[in-house]
């Protein structure tokens, strides 16, 4: 029953996406909305039904696989088109369809003046289908398929405004980096296939322990999986595509590049925790990468002027927290944060979208200020989101982040390192998010005021912002410190219990809560001092630490380094091959062959003088030789 519903959840967005994509011409907006949004609503409703169905089962009876048909059977390896419904995938389904539905609703108004309304919803539905396939897949093959399809959908939506060269370039960058991740994932699948002889989740995870704890094979599998996760989740050093991905429409940024797709890496590690549990080294590498990412991204977010880029870097940083958590083995904490982040980051993006929409595609903070008066809904959404992400007690981010950090504190030396970085990150997060809030919604209006005045959103856009704003508050109450652990309990059948699994203890929670609240309030206070109280102060302080700030402003110059190290030399090498190697080598072989044939032909050709008598001479020569040979043979014979 659960699996049958899950199949429907999976297929409905696909069907509506295909119908929309294949619709001849541009259908009326009402039809597009009905198909595009209705399908997600159906999926969401059925996901809830699946969830309720599973709730009725005992905790150890919540995992079902269902196979549609034998997709391929090759050299002893069978791959079925199958899905796996278990607490983890159901949780992801709920997030994807729930947040997805709200964002679809929002898009109905946000995109209504766009020429390609239909194409937008077709792509968004394709994305929801792909993401569901990713989380529901029952084996590594279809995980990879879903993994790549979300990349494709992301590509299509980043490059949605395909006439802008920047959007096109950003889409390409995102796609190529995601392909690098795909390659990692594919290699991991190869290794699993070679060592365990199967691509099926159940068999692979069951056989994982046979590979031996801390063996090189397990480490290799984990690191290759993490290459895939890092590319999708924008972790250092594969993070550079995400800020550029903000070229896409804002709802896309909210759904794909904040709430769901970028957290797929977290899902992947939790899903494959059977491998990560076996290798402490792999887990530590993941955690450290996550920690570095969260800190690096937070420093970059401090100075971004584009409102969406602030949020993008914030996303990189927040996903860093999650990756750090799951790397340390705090799987439930990571998933909790994933969910909470989906709520508050979506709220932030949608609120930012309201602002952008109201200001007619203005995204620069320099051209904002004092919007509090005009855009109450956006103010609410942004405010709730900022309070949540900064970790103010009572909001979702507070509980989620503290859950992560309190777990980390139990994780040995690396855990403590991660804890310190996380606390530092919490301070920076509060600082840059409230900078955004103060600069956009407080202070004076930009010079000359707003022409025309910002128009508030209608209910299509307002409802999702408000709902997500509320969720940013209450969403965290599912898992509270000191014993209320709904998320951990729900995920227990998936994550299991063991020495590698981290859970917070009372002591660490107390320490973490105190320190992080201090940090958050400190960050907010500094933001108020710098940006809120006196808008002129930041201009007066602009001369401080120009050099380091320039580096941070350039996102630590990753893009430039990649261009210098990979892109440019590659391009030059390719050019050399095209202009030098190709004519000399492969073409040279041909030229040589042709020259040889031509030379031989010329030799033969010169004998064909066209003079009959010359031919007669040749004939005579033949006769002469034949005669001499005949004479010699006769002489020899007698």
């Amino acid at each position: 029953m659960a699996t049958a519903l899950a199949w429907i959840v999976l297929v409905v967005p696909l069907i509506s996406g295909i119908v929309l994509a294949g619709w001849p011409g541009e259908p009326p907006h009402a039809v597009t909305r009905l198909l595009g949004i209705g399908s997600i609503l159906i999926s969401f409703a059925l996901s809830v039904a699946v969830f309720i169905g599973l709730l009725g089962n005992a905790a150890d009876d919540r995992s079902f696989t269902s196979s549609a048909f034998e997709w391929i059977s090759i050299a002893g390896t069978d791959v079925d088109l199958s899905i796996l419904v278990d607490p983890l995938s159901v949780m992801m389904m709920l997030i994807i369809t729930g947040v997805g539905f709200l964002i679809h609703l929002y898009s109905a108004e946000y995109m209504e003046h766009d020429r390609d309304y239909r194409r937008f919803f077709a792509s968004m539905n394709l994305f929801v289908f792909s993401m569901l396939l990713l989380v529901l897949a029952g084996n590594f093959f279809f995980l990879i398929v879903g993994w790549a399809f979300v990349g494709l959908a992301s590509y299509l939506l980043i490059g949605f405004w395909y006439e802008r060269p920047t959007a096109v370039a950003a889409a390409k960058k995102a796609f190529v980096i995601n392909v690098i991740g795909d390659v990692g994932l594919v290699l991991a699948a190869f290794l699993i296939l070679r060592e365990l002889g199967t691509l099926d989740y159940g068999e692979a995870f069951a056989g994982a322990s046979g590979l031996g704890a801390n063996s090189g094979t397990v480490l290799a599998i984990c690191l290759l999986l993490f290459v895939g996760a890092a590319a999708k989740s924008a972790q250092v050093p594969l993070h550079t595509w995400l800020p550029d991905a903000m070229e896409g429409p804002t709802p896309v940024s909210a759904l794909i590049h904040a709430a769901t797709m970028v957290t797929a890496g977290v899902y992947l590690i939790v899903r494959c925790h059977a491998f990560f549990d076996l290798s402490w080294l792999a887990g530590d590498i993941v955690a450290v990468v996550g920690a570095i990412t969260l800190l690096m991204a937070a420093t970059v977010a401090l100075q971004q002027v584009d409102i969406k880029r602030v949020l993008a870097w914030s996303t990189v940083s927040q996903v860093g927290y999650m990756i750090m958590a799951v790397g340390l083995g705090a799987y439930a904490s990571g998933m909790f944060m994933l969910m909470a982040h989906a709520f508050y980051k979506a709220a932030l993006f949608l609120a930012a979208g309201v602002v952008i929409h109201a200001l007619h595609d203005e995204q620069s903070l320099d051209r904002m200020g004092g919007l509090r008066k005009y855009l109450r809904v956006a103010y609410f959404g942004m405010g709730a989101g900022c309070l949540a992400i900064a970790g103010v007690p009572g909001f979702a981010g507070f509980f989620a982040k503290d859950d992560v950090l309190a777990s980390a504190l139990n994780g040995g030396a690396i855990g403590v390192f991660c804890w310190v970085v996380g606390i530092l990150g919490a301070f920076l997060t509060a600082l840059y998010m409230f900078r955004l809030l103060f600069r956009a919604f407080f202070g004076p209006e930009p010079a000359g005021g707003y022409q025309p005045a910002p128009h508030p959103s209608r209910w299509w856009m307002s409802v999702p912002v408000v709902v997500l704003g509320i969720l940013s508050i209450v969403g965290g109450w599912l898992q509270l410190p000191f014993g209320w652990t709904e998320i951990s309990d729900w995920l227990l059948p998936v994550t299991g219990e063991g020495p590698a699994i981290l859970e917070p203890t009372h002591a660490t929670e107390v320490v973490t809560i105190i320190v992080s609240v201090v940090m958050a309030l400190g960050g907010i206070g500094l933001a108020w001092w710098l940006f809120g109280a006196d808008p002129e102060r930041r201009i007066r302080l602009a001369a401080i630490a120009r050099g380091p700030r320039a580096v941070m402003d350039d996102a630590w110059r990753f893009d430039e380094a990649y261009d210098d190290v990979f892109v440019e030399p590659g391009r030059e090498m390719a050019d050399v091959m095209l202009t030098r190697v190709e004519p000399a080598g492969p073409q040279g072989i041909i030229t040589g062959t042709v020259a040889f044939v031509r030379g031989a032909a010329r030799l033969v050709r010169s004998s064909q003088s066209g003079m009959v008598r010359a031919y007669a001479f040749w004939m005579v020569l033949g006769i002469a030789l034949a005669g001499i040979v005949a004479a010699l043979i006769a002489a020899g014979g007698s």
Binding site: A631, A634, G637
Partner: protein, 173 residues
Amino acid sequence: MGEKVTFAVAAIGALGFGTGVVFFRDAFRAAVSLIGTLLSVALLFIVLLAPFAAAVQVIVYAGAIVVMFLFVIAYLGERGEVTTPDRLDRWQVIGWLGVIGLGAFGAVAVLDSSSAPADAAPATTDVGTPASIGDAFLSDHLLAFEVTSLILLVAAVGAVILARSAVQGAGGR
């Protein structure tokens, strides 16, 4: 004895007239000289008990073909031999080689003749008759017969086409 005399006469005639064919500067004389050669060869055929072949030699060769030559010679008129230097002069050494080669063939033929059944063959007279030749053509050598007729057909068509294009070429220009 008579056979040997006849052979000698015919051979001397063939070679003599043949020398004329090759060395007469005037094409008309060469052609007439060819008639002599052909008749001498026909005489040889008779000695060799091939009367039918001899008859065809006289009628078709000496008659039809040489007449055709004469027609063409008359048609093209007196042009004389070319006097420009021969570009193939240097190739003469090949000619000498050829003579050596042919000599070698001859030497082989003479010296290595032990296997030939000399006078063994019975002098039956019916091998060269038209009847036996016709019989051979329509039984053992039917394919050769058919191919020959095809060649003649092609040659006839070819000649017509050549003549036509020659007329058009002359008229057109």
